[in-house]
């Protein structure tokens, strides 16, 4: 018997089982009564065993035994002489009747017991399957929201309740409801606490009015709750561990910053100090060309110092997640133009080729941060690419994104380093050969990712290309339309 029909028969109330048993016996009795002249009494007794077996098999021992007694009475009344009385005259009939009664009752009990055992085994198997499904669903989850949702769903499905509410209390309190409406006004029929080693984490509240919750179901739900508690604890432990790891990494970052930065900051500082003190000490003649050079050095190095401090600030903002783009609809060409205008004096040794179509839509980006991305990528290209080589900037719409490529003719980067050049303080060239904090590209990465884009580097036929994408939509919104403008009179 499959589980669906099991469930269907369990829905049949006990009363109907007895009624069906009586009807079946009546039906068989009618048939046998018609055939009474043709059949022997002992054959009829044997034939009566068939409905009894059927009744016990389908409806259990209770209807079976009742059916046996009923058969005993109808058999005696209709088929044993004298007919239509419960009296018995022939001794052989007495023997047949007694044997019939014993056999009927024994069969009923045996079949009923086997049936009950089968039902229990099926129920146990179902419980085990449900538990297995739950624990499989919870395996590998590290998000307490998802765990709570799955737990509530499984409880809802298994208990066939009308409403399930799952409450997690404490510092990470969360609630999950199924269906997603307000709970019934009356108190829940069952409250199962979610207990873990550290105490109660919360509770599952179940509303089910149509039938009582059996001890077996209660036990199963308690097991569910403890499975859920385990999963939640595991998720929280994993989170705590990853937080600890982040802290450790940021600690390592600080150490790295200190060592790299003290070196980087001291270089311009030494220049400034040397130039300023020599000017002050009167060692340089008023009209000598060296004087102008020293002053220019102070000015340049102060700018450089300012850039370094700015980079460090940006990096710490990216690290702490405080870098929030202040988006506006912007024109990419304008941003690139402003960066190039500012970098004019740096780009004298290189040729620039800009390929940004006029038809590009407005893009929702932070103007200043996007400027920074271009500044860092272009200055990186200028730093590593040989003089007189070409630096190209190209932008295209690709689906929902805009794809920008800044390529140059610098030496190619080993494939295993293509991703690592975006890491903090990562340099392919030794630090003393190229100036900078080693933060430029990782700042680009931080900014692009904060905008919901992606950045990567690739070797191209004659050099290196930086690629990045930026979304064209802003919270799902497309570039806005402008109000109609009219020609001036």
């Amino acid at each position: 018997m499959n589980s669906a029909s099991m469930r269907a028969s369990s829905v049949l109330s006990q009363f109907w089982k007895y009624v069906f048993a009586a009807l079946l016996i009546t039906f068989v009795t009618v048939i046998l009564f018609v055939l009474r002249g043709l059949l022997d009494t002992s054959i009829i007794a044997l034939l009566y065993l068939i409905p009894l077996g059927v009744i016990t098999a389908y409806w259990g021992a209770g209807p079976g035994i009742t059916g046996a007694l009923l058969c005993f009475l109808t058999f005696n009344y209709f088929f044993i002489e004298p007919y239509h009385t419960l009296a018995v005259h022939r001794p052989t009939d007495v023997v047949i009747l007694v044997i019939f009664l014993i056999v009927a009752v024994v069969i009923s009990q045996l079949v009923g017991r086997a049936q009950a055992g089968l039902a229990a085994a099926t129920a146990r198997e179902r419980e085990a399957t449900q538990l297995y499904e739950l624990s499989t669903a919870l395996t590998g989850l590290h998000d307490d929201q998802t765990i709570a949702r799955i737990l509530a769903k499984q409880v809802h499905a298994v208990a066939e309740g009308e409403y399930v509410e799952l409450n997690i209390t404490g510092s990470r309190s969360l609630r999950f409801r199924l269906p997603d409406t307000d709970p019934p006004v009356r108190p829940p029929e069952l409250i199962v606490p979610i207990e873990a080693a550290r105490g109660t984490l919360g509770e599952i509240r179940l509303w089910r009015a149509d039938r009582a919750i059996s001890p077996g179901e209660k036990r199963l739900l308690q097991t569910f709750a403890s499975q859920g508690a385990l999963a939640l604890e595991r998720a929280w432990l994993a989170q705590a561990e990853s937080r600890a790891q982040v802290l450790e990494e940021s600690d390592q970052l600080k150490t790295a910053i200190l060592s790299s930065v003290s070196h980087e900051l001291r270089t311009p500082l030494s220049t400034i100090k040397a130039a300023a003190s020599s000017l002050r000490g009167g060692e340089v003649r008023w009209d000598s060309p060296a004087r102008a050079e020293l002053i220019a050095a102070i000015d340049d190095e102060a700018d450089h110092l300012n850039l370094l401090v700015g980079n460090l600030l940006d990096m710490s903002r990216i690290e702490s997640g405080a870098l929030k783009p202040k988006r506006d609809w912007n024109i990419l060409a304008e941003i690139i133009g402003s960066v190039l205008a500012r970098m004019k004096h740096l780009a004298v040794e290189h040729k620039l080729e800009i390929d940004v179509p006029e038809s590009l839509p407005l893009i929702p980006v932070d103007y200043v941060q996007t400027q920074q991305v271009f500044t860092n990528l272009i200055s990186n290209s200028l730093k590593y690419a040989p003089p007189n080589s070409m630096v190209r900037i190209r932008a295209r719409v690709e689906g929902e994104m805009i794809h920008v490529q800044v390529s140059n003719q610098s030496p190619q980067v080993p494939i295993q380093d293509l991703e690592r050049i975006f890491d903090k303080f990562y340099r392919i060239t030794a630090a003393d050969r190229v100036t900078g904090t080693g933060l430029g590209l990782s700042i680009c990465k931080g900014i692009v990712e904060a905008h919901g884009g992606r950045i990567w580097a690739e070797n191209i036929s004659d050099g290196l290309a930086f690629n990045f994408t930026l979304p064209l939509t802003w919270d799902g919104a497309k570039p806005p339309q402008l109000p109609i403008d009219t020609e001036m009179e």
């Binding site: 600030l313 133009g337 402003s338 570039p479 806005p480 020609e487």
Partner: protein
């Protein structure tokens, strides 16, 4: 000497005060300094300087608030100083009535240029406003609504002209996105920065030699725009 413009500098860093005072005195300005907001407000009320240089990061009160309280009773020009990445504060102070801003660290020529523009604007506010603004080959006649590039008249749309006229009337001063938008389009459109982007681009195409590297209509990243006119 007593005719020399009087400048009040409010900044809490002694080194900056020292540097600014030295340079401004050298350039024949009279200089008073304050290191706290309250002190600065008192000095502004008693001395009535011609211009205030105000640092946004003061120990006792918010520089934006100093700005607001000054604007309650005076229109004297205010130039704000602030560190990088505080666009929000700069915009707030500018919208609160500050005239211009400088980002630390700044070059001294920049500071002097801003001081001169601010003083000139304060003077023109009192007297007659100039009706014709010149910038390179551009001539903008605000009275007759005529814009010329060289000898040729430039055809502008209604919005383009209103935008250019607003910029030109406030030439050399930084104007925030919000203030331009609410002046040209109306306060209800004050958030539509995209209008500005598009119309500024159109204006640049009509007026600038190289629209990607504008000479007159300058972008102040994260803040707004500035129209650079001839001195």
């Amino acid at each position: 000497m007593s005719n020399a413009p009087h400048i009040l500098v409010i900044d809490d860093e002694p080194q900056i005060l020292r540097a600014i005072r030295t340079i401004l005195t050298e350039k024949q300005f009279r200089v008073t300094t304050a290191s706290r907001g309250e002190e600065g407000l008192t000095l502004a009320a008693t001395n009535e300087p011609d211009l205030i240089i105000l640092d946004l990061g003061l120990p006792d009160m918010d520089g934006v608030e100093v700005c607001t309280r000054l604007r309650e009773w005076t229109q004297m020009p205010i130039i704000i100083l602030s560190v990088r990445d505080s666009e929000r504060d700069k915009v707030a102070a500018l919208d609160m009535g500050a005239d211009d801003y400088l980002t630390k660290p700044f070059g001294i020529e920049e500071l002097l240029a801003r001081v001169r523009v601010a003083l000139r604007h304060a003077a023109s506010r009192k007297g007659e406003q100039s009706k014709v603004v010149k910038a390179g080959s551009l001539t903008i006649d605000l009275a007759w609504h005529i814009v010329k590039r060289g000898d040729e008249e430039v055809k502008l749309t209604g919005i383009e002209y209103r935008l250019l006229a607003h910029l030109a009337a406030n030439h050399d001063r930084v104007l925030t996105h919000q203030s331009i938008l609410s002046h040209v389009w109306g306060p209800e459109d004050a958030d539509h920065t995209e209008y500005l982007r598009v119309y500024m681009r159109q204006l640049r195409k009509k007026l600038e030699e190289d629209p990607e590297r504008p000479q007159f209509i300058l972008t102040e990243p994260g803040i707004g725009y500035r129209f650079l006119a001839d001195d």
